[in-house]
């Protein structure tokens, strides 16, 4: 099963293991990762599961959909090239070991 490491702005890192197909947002919320809210339940409607994906994993991610791209324009922490919505990242063996940085603010 793939693992995800969430790194907080303080530098504290938490590793969680999830089943394939689980979204990164669901993995964070069910494991109580601070700073990932997921207020809309994973519909790409609220942009409160914003994460920064470390560049070495960016190539393995599915391309940004138009919806995700547009929703990323309203994140609370400023959008960067590394910005993605956690609810749109489906975990797979290719993404095993992914490291994401949690922004300082979601709402």
């Amino acid at each position: 099963m793939p693992t995800i490491t969430f790194t907080q702005p303080t530098g504290e890192a938490t590793e969680v293991t999830v089943e394939e197909g689980t979204s990164l947002m669901r993995a964070a919320v069910t494991n109580g990762i601070e700073g990932i809210v997921g207020e809309c339940g994973g519909q790409a409607m609220c942009a409160t599961c914003h994460v920064f994906v470390r560049p070495e994993f960016a190539g393995q991610l599915a391309d940004l959909s138009a919806d995700e791209d547009e929703m990323l324009d309203c994140t609370t922490a400023e959008r960067t090239e590394a910005s993605r919505l956690g609810c749109q990242i489906k975990m797979s063996t290719e993404l095993d070991g992914i490291v994401v940085d949690v922004p300082s603010d979601q709402v």
């Binding site: 809309c40 339940g41 324009d73």
Partner: protein, 415 residues
């Protein structure tokens, strides 16, 4: 208002609003005891996915929690699996079903809403379902796995989300709606008519101006009889005919209730230290001056945050712009603001391609925007509504106009 950071706070309800109050109190530095009453057996969970992903082909095996399992303990929040039976605001005490009672300094009603019952004979037959709780959704998943013919009563958000999910499973779906339009209370006629046509094109047998008179047990399934004199065979009936705010406790405690627990602009009832948030609250919206009661995640969480900040000493009127969403099969609907029947609708985008927004203008200003598969319009509209911007139909239909560009222009000037 002073700082009440060590007060004991009791929250009735463990839904989106109640949990948000508890979370935000701790985030704002509250150090006193916080207790949340949960009248369901499950760890607090998110309801919106229940009528959406849960009814499709590939549903998640676990509910999505509102917060992780260790959250309450880590934040020092006590959750009691208990039902409140009465509130004594003079003694600042809540009595519970098990005979015990709890005192409080601040009391928050986050009691939510309950489904309206279907007012016709046969509503209690096996095979007739409502959808609000996780247990309801699990029951429906079981029923869907063997059903072939589905009848949905009520073309509101819940009914249509469910209907679209059942269609993706390849089932025969009939939707009966006694009103002239689907989602008629929430959407402009222009948007509502588009949805009606789209659902028909996607194979949902949507029948408007047709209500239900009775449901019968027909031996090998159910028969749903309509006001048009037709009978529809079904092996699964789902009804979504609106909700009532859960106000009984508040009313019995002597608090004013008028389609919701009446609160002021700060979301406080007439009794100091007693608040109401979310689906159960009838509040005065500061930006528009209207009294309203809203059923949405945004309203629940923003009001939860607002009351937490107010208990901690902030002094502001609640004025967040309301927003809503629905997903119906591949259609993503996002609404910013609250439309009125008399608003002037202005279409922008391409309805034939299923990507457009409808601006609702009121007294020359932007009052609401309904967006279909157009999140950029929606996000911009959330920022624009509430600014009181003058806008005409001509402005919106001018070539090159986008809400995003307008928001950028207006907010740049304002900053």
């Amino acid at each position: 208002m002073g700082n009440n950071c060590a007060d004991s706070v009791l929250i009735i309800g463990a839904g989106q609003a109640g949990i948000q109050v508890a979370d935000s109190l701790r985030a704002e530095g509250h150090t006193g005891p916080i207790t949340v009453l949960n009248n369901e057996v499950h760890h607090p969970y998110q309801r919106p996915p229940l009528s959406k992903d849960y009814m499709g082909v590939d549903w998640p095996s676990e509910p999505l929690p509102l917060r992780g399992p260790g959250f309450l303990e880590a934040k020092g929040i006590t959750m009691l699996g208990a039902e409140a039976t009465s509130v004594d605001t003079a003694a600042r005490t809540v009595h519970l079903a098990d005979g015990t009672s709890i005192g409080y300094s601040q009391l928050v009603f986050a009691t939510g809403a309950a489904n309206r019952q279907l007012p016709c004979p046969g509503a209690d037959l096996a095979g007739v379902h409502a959808l609000r709780t996780l247990d309801d959704a699990l029951g429906l998943q079981d029923a869907l796995s063997t059903a072939r013919k589905v009848v949905v009563i009520g073309a509101g958000f819940i009914g249509l989300e469910f209907a679209a999910g059942a269609r993706t499973r390849g089932l025969d779906v009939t939707v009966l709606e006694f009103a002239q339009r689907p989602m008629g209370r929430a959407l402009s006629a222009m948007a509502s008519d588009w949805f009606a046509a789209r659902h028909l094109a996607d194979g949902i047998d949507l029948r408007l101006n047709e209500g239900v008179t009775a449901i019968h047990d027909a031996g090998e399934g159910l028969s749903v009889e309509s006001t048009a004199g037709r009978a529809y065979p079904a092996d699964l009936v789902l009804y979504g005919v609106g909700v009532n705010p859960r106000t009984d406790l508040a009313e019995a405690a002597g608090l004013e209730v008028q389609n919701g627990i009446v609160v002021d602009a700060a979301l406080q009832t007439a009794v100091s230290g007693v608040w109401a948030v979310g689906d159960c609250a009838s509040f005065q919206h500061a930006a528009s001056g209207e009294r309203m009661r809203l059923e949405s995640v945004q309203n629940a969480t923003d009001q939860g945050r607002h009351v937490a900040r107010t208990i901690m000493g902030a002094n502001a009127a609640y004025s967040e712009t309301p927003w809503f969403w629905s997903t119906q099969g591949p259609i993503r609907l996002q609404i910013a603001g609250v439309s009125h029947p008399g608003d002037l609708p202005v279409m922008i985008g391409d309805p034939a391609a299923g990507k457009f927004s409808i601006a609702l203008l009121r007294e020359g200003k932007l009052a609401a925007v309904e967006s279909v598969n157009s999140p950029a319009d929606h996000i911009a509209a959330r920022k624009l509504i509430g600014l009181g911007l003058e806008l005409t139909a001509g402005d919106i239909t001018t070539a090159g106009f986008t809400f995003k560009a307008l928001a950028k222009e207006v907010l740049m000037v304002g900053s």
